[in-house]
Symmetry: C2
Subunit: 129 residues, 2 copies
């Protein structure tokens, strides 16, 4: 278990994921909340939230770390991932990431044990066309 105590920093940070935004960079979070809490705190809380499968993370085009709400797609139970996961879409022009409303299935062809799967589709979003 990552999170042990309910602190105000934790609450403030969690609020940021209750918007319509589907994924946020840590850099963005730091610039939004940097006056309310230290950036180290932000990094540490995000880390714990991922450990608890409340958030999950991945890296976008420029190497920046993105966080998004996890809906069980990162559980250690293989079935849950193998059956369905939802891809993210990053616009290479404006950089924005959204979660697509598609469910994809991953074929179980490997001997490896899968625990996470992240499909990042890249292209140009509607606004940038």
């Amino acid at each position: 278990m990552g999170i042990h105590r309910k602190t105000s920093s934790l609450n403030t940070l969690l609020k940021e994921f209750n918007n319509d935004i589907s994924a946020i960079t840590v850099v963005d979070l730091v610039s939004r909340l940097g006056d309310k809490m230290n950036k180290t705190t932000i990094y540490r809380i995000l880390n714990k939230l991922e450990e608890d499968s409340i958030l999950h993370s991945f890296f976008g085009k420029n190497g920046l770390k993105w966080y998004a709400k996890c809906d069980g797609c990162c559980n250690s139970k293989p079935e849950s991932i193998l059956n369905k996961f939802r891809p993210h879409f990053q616009c290479l022009s404006c950089g924005k990431i959204d979660r697509l409303n598609i469910e994809m299935k991953l074929p179980k062809v490997t001997d490896q044990k899968v625990s996470v799967s992240q499909l990042l589709i890249q292209g140009r979003c509607e606004s940038c066309n």
Copy 2:
């Protein structure tokens, strides 16, 4: 066009992708070739090779940049990607990345114009089990 001149640095770098290894980190390349050429040169050549769609890149679990041979999966023609792409697999224990021998199809459900799609599946590889 990224590459204009055939230099020895370019050749040396290209050789590294003729092994059976399916993906290499830049950090790894720098430590292997660092005595033969400057790290800045490595970064710059990789950049150009990606521009020319000879290599493609993505970011692994720890934010490191990986390069692999591109077989047209990163062309700007939407059809080529929408029809098939091959996922990479990263072992969360030893960090190694391999390209899986599976072809996946991406459903064309979006208004967005897709140019790249990268599926990074994560778990534990055979050797680490």
